[in-house]
């Protein structure tokens, strides 16, 4: 059947792009192809195949060998010679805040970038999709960047739209502290994010071990982190068989000063009626304020009310010092840059990576009962 050109469906001659696709497919199937064999199979001259092979080899999709081609091999000298190009890459980075949480992420990214010999250009942005896009666009226009690390707003239709746009950019994109949905519209986006649900769960289990049987949750729904914290809190409560519906779960987004004091009083009232003796407070800025409020109201921390904060930015400043879940912010930046560097080096052959990092629980005074050992931090493994 394959004596004459057109062994495939219909003797239609293929376009060059299709031919190269066929070629890649044969290659994937067999691991290697001969110029002669493929030329016969596709009914074109060997020279044509050779030209295709050269083209694909230039893109790093195959390794050239005498008489044919193979899947790219690390032994292929020309490949390794070509890739570590002397011109170092520039990476754009757009983050939603330059004074909370993100400085450490950036610092981690910078350190790793230096290691990898990359340049990083950071821009701050607002917490909304339109501004995210503006900032990214500005980077694309004025600098010429080879890759993008970004923590976009993903809420609502605008967020989805932004994701699609990022997905379609001609340069690789890595999300930091954001998860793109696994399915279609963002299938090329890679990400690295902290598993905040795990962190919240860890806090709840710690409080449980300290003897607390009603554990509340105070969140700030204006933060993208919040839903994950709540989810983790819920899951852990369920696993510990504490009824979630009867537990204190309040949101303190957008509150300031006077309002906040009133709201905290409300929360404390709820705690009293439900018998809640421990709170997980998202954003440890809030936690600091909450602990301060408790102290002002004569409520002992941790005696009457144990508190664990979330984020560990300022938790150690409070009096008493607040236990907090600490996301590995430095590592988020570091891993994002590693992903980007690997992507730039290996190209399309590298599969899309999506990485979750576990936070750690830093124990301080606000959650550890007096009789217990106040030891803290990284050394504990038992949780």
């Amino acid at each position: 059947m394959s004596t004459e050109p057109g062994p495939e469906a219909g003797g239609k001659s293929l376009f060059s792009l299709q031919r190269r696709e066929r070629l890649m497919e044969e290659l994937r199937a067999h691991g290697a192809i001969t110029v002669r064999g493929i030329a016969a199979k596709l009914g074109v001259s060997e020279l044509t195949i050779r030209r295709d092979v050269n083209l694909l080899a230039d893109e790093g999709l195959v390794s050239r060998v005498h008489g044919g081609a193979t899947l790219p091999s690390p032994l292929d000298r020309s490949a390794t010679a070509g890739l570590p190009s002397p011109h170092s890459y520039s990476i754009g980075m757009v983050v939603p805040s330059l004074d909370y949480y993100w400085p450490q992420v950036i610092s981690g990214a910078r350190a790793e970038a230096e290691e990898q010999n990359l340049r990083i250009l950071v821009r701050g942005s607002a917490y909304d999709a339109a501004d995210n896009r503006r900032q990214v666009q500005a980077l694309l226009d004025t600098q010429n960047i080879d890759g993008l690390i970004v923590a976009p707003d993903m809420t609502g239709e605008r967020g989805q739209e932004l994701l699609r746009w990022l997905n379609a950019l001609p340069i690789p994109v890595v999300l930091a502290e954001r998860r793109s949905p696994g399915d279609n519209p963002a299938h090329r986006l890679e990400w690295v994010a902290t598993d905040h649900a795990f962190g919240a769960g860890m806090a709840v289990r710690h409080l449980w071990q300290e003897g607390h049987r009603q554990i509340g949750c105070l969140t700030d729904s204006s933060s993208p982190t919040s839903p994950h914290v709540v989810r983790g809190w819920r899951q852990a409560m369920k696993a510990l068989k504490i009824p979630v519906e009867k537990s204190v779960h309040e949101d303190s987004a957008q509150l300031v000063n006077g309002d906040r004091a009133a709201h905290f009083d409300h929360v404390l009232e709820l705690c009293k009626t439900t018998g809640t003796t421990a709170m997980l407070v998202h954003s440890d800025t809030q936690a600091v304020a909450f602990v301060q409020h408790c102290v002002d109201r004569g409520i002992q921390v941790p005696g009457d009310m144990a508190v664990v904060g979330y984020d560990d930015e300022v938790a150690y400043l409070a009096e008493p010092a607040i236990s907090a879940v600490r996301p590995p912010k430095q590592y988020v930046g570091k891993v994002a840059v590693q992903l980007m560097a690997a992507r730039l080096a290996e190209g399309r052959l590298r599969p899309v990576h999506r990485i979750e990092l576990n936070p750690e629980l830093i124990l301080r005074e606000s959650s550890v009962g007096a009789p217990r050992v106040p030891a803290a931090g990284v050394l504990q493994d038992s949780l």
Copy 2:
């Protein structure tokens, strides 16, 4: 034996690059090779092997010895500038199969291990928790390993028990192609796994784009991969608004020969009554059998029934060649070793990493309708 370089048809002749790769693989597996042995194995003259060895030695990838070659040894003074190998770690690796799927994972792991200057000890195991544990224990007892990469059976109470045991081991553990639950009992376990649900979803969306409106799923529930494939199929169906309850979803675990034929007939009958024109078949071994069965029954593939396989081990062998979702097996091994190397280097300060990799969809004849453009693979970005 063949005077011509056999282009197809299992021809033994390899390109030099492939030969060198085979050589490296043998080397990684056994630690040393003899010129004579390899020459016989590959069916080339000893001189050719010698030339290859010299070439690899020049690049510092092997050490020459009289009669053969070994992995580069620090004792070999000709080795380039004495690679910094202060003390190399040993990693144990326990996988549930040595002849399906896992050889590629192992190969990827070996290659990366060599890069990182680690030693890897591989053991096969059965697909059950008790034997997993036995094999791991054997590694711990006889070799003394510094880290463990394992793909355990995680089903049932025995599986959970095994996870807890692994979690408590004094050495770092990385799971390959397995996800530990995010919560408590396995919080120290890191893992790297293919996002099979994404792969299944990609297949469904591809079939949808080809015009199919009823897409069935044929699974093998005896495989740990199966639940994820089903989940991805379900999710994608839901997103496309195809009623899942009315769709064909059959399981063919444990069937052989006669039973299988009967079962396939049953499946085809179901397809007819439901109007199903496309099937996602887990384990492409099954897919090959299924396509064969269709052809035997006079059902056109892809005309009457489009098929996408899952795993891409043998899918290309079928006639017509079967489209298949390909998990990045090499990368699973590679990333597992990277995780381990980083863990061994950085210790407990490094946060727990959990990594998902996306598979890719290899389009072949079995799912691509004649009228459509048959272009496939990496060059297309639109899916």
